[in-house]
Symmetry: C2
Subunit: 187 residues, 2 copies
């Protein structure tokens, strides 16, 4: 009936994700996307609509990539130790997936912190509040902690996780390990 697509949308979407992960949204141009994805602008637009829609789809792609470490954390049953394991997994996943640093979602959260982009910010807030809920659940496993302590520590861990993701873009693996170990020293 008609000509065939010469690429798979899932594959080129993944390549776009890596590029956004490395450079952020604004510092990734359509020209760079053409080169990295291996298709031209027409194909990008016909497959993904716009740069903005493409970016949102790479965020969802990223979410599916990290889904398993979230599932692992949810299923585990060793309280705070599981959260610590999750911190290590979060750092590791960057080097597993294309040797990228930091977390695409956290990078995006930072880049868009002063923006008015509701679609992006919603995506970020859902991610953060989900993570906080999981932290709270894991912390409650220790019945010696009262409600206030749990909430305080959950806030602490959320900010620590955010900070770690930001800092891990420029710090060595040794520094990151030291940081995680000391973060969980007194929880």
């Amino acid at each position: 009936m008609a000509r065939k697509k010469e690429y798979k949308e899932e594959e080129v979407l993944e390549k776009a994700m890596y590029l956004f992960w490395q450079n952020g949204y604004e510092n990734t141009s359509m020209k760079m996307l053409e080169k990295e994805m291996g298709i031209n602008k027409f194909s990008i637009y016909s497959s993904f609509g716009s740069k903005h829609e493409l970016f949102l789809k790479t965020l969802k792609c990223y979410n599916s990539k990290i889904k398993n470490i979230f599932e692992k954390l949810k299923k585990a049953s060793n309280g705070v130790d599981d959260i610590k394991e999750f911190f290590y997994d979060s750092v590791k996943i960057g080097s597993q997936l294309g040797n990228k640093k930091g977390c695409l979602l956290t990078n995006t959260y930072n880049e868009f912190s002063e923006s008015e982009d509701v679609l992006i910010k919603d995506e970020m807030n859902v991610f953060m509040s989900n993570l906080k809920a999981i932290f709270i659940e894991k912390l409650k496993a220790d019945s010696s902690k009262n409600e206030e302590t749990v909430l305080k520590q959950a806030n602490f861990l959320l900010l620590a996780k955010h900070g770690l993701a930001a800092a891990s873009r420029v710090n060595s693996q040794k520094e990151i390990e030291d940081y995680i170990e000391m973060t969980f020293n007194n929880l």
Copy 2:
């Protein structure tokens, strides 16, 4: 002899600093700078050379603004407690100087982490290694800590400071206070 300048370079430089602080380097355009600084492009270029040079000068301007909290930290003599005070001062200075969030230098460090810009990166590395040296000196005040512990804790604090600056752009004051308190709980 000739016409007079209708603005003071120090004053408009400060305004440029606030704009870069809020939006970052790439997301601040010459048009925005014209509006915020209250002078037009010709004047910006004749006074500061280029957008890039202007940015470097705003970084130096920022350095001079935060100099006093560094001096305070250096002069103090209560070891780790002084570092904690420094963390609080670092967060506070944002709301004192034009109600901006985070740290201009840390924001820049993050924005340029994947960049090849040597001038900017040098500026950042000097800042970070200075801060680390001060942390080490303060930690050594506690003679019970051995060399390895001091270095480990200094790395931890440097990363925590970096993370805090990044996270403080999106977190509430309460969350930030909780974070600082817990960070220093076991040092």
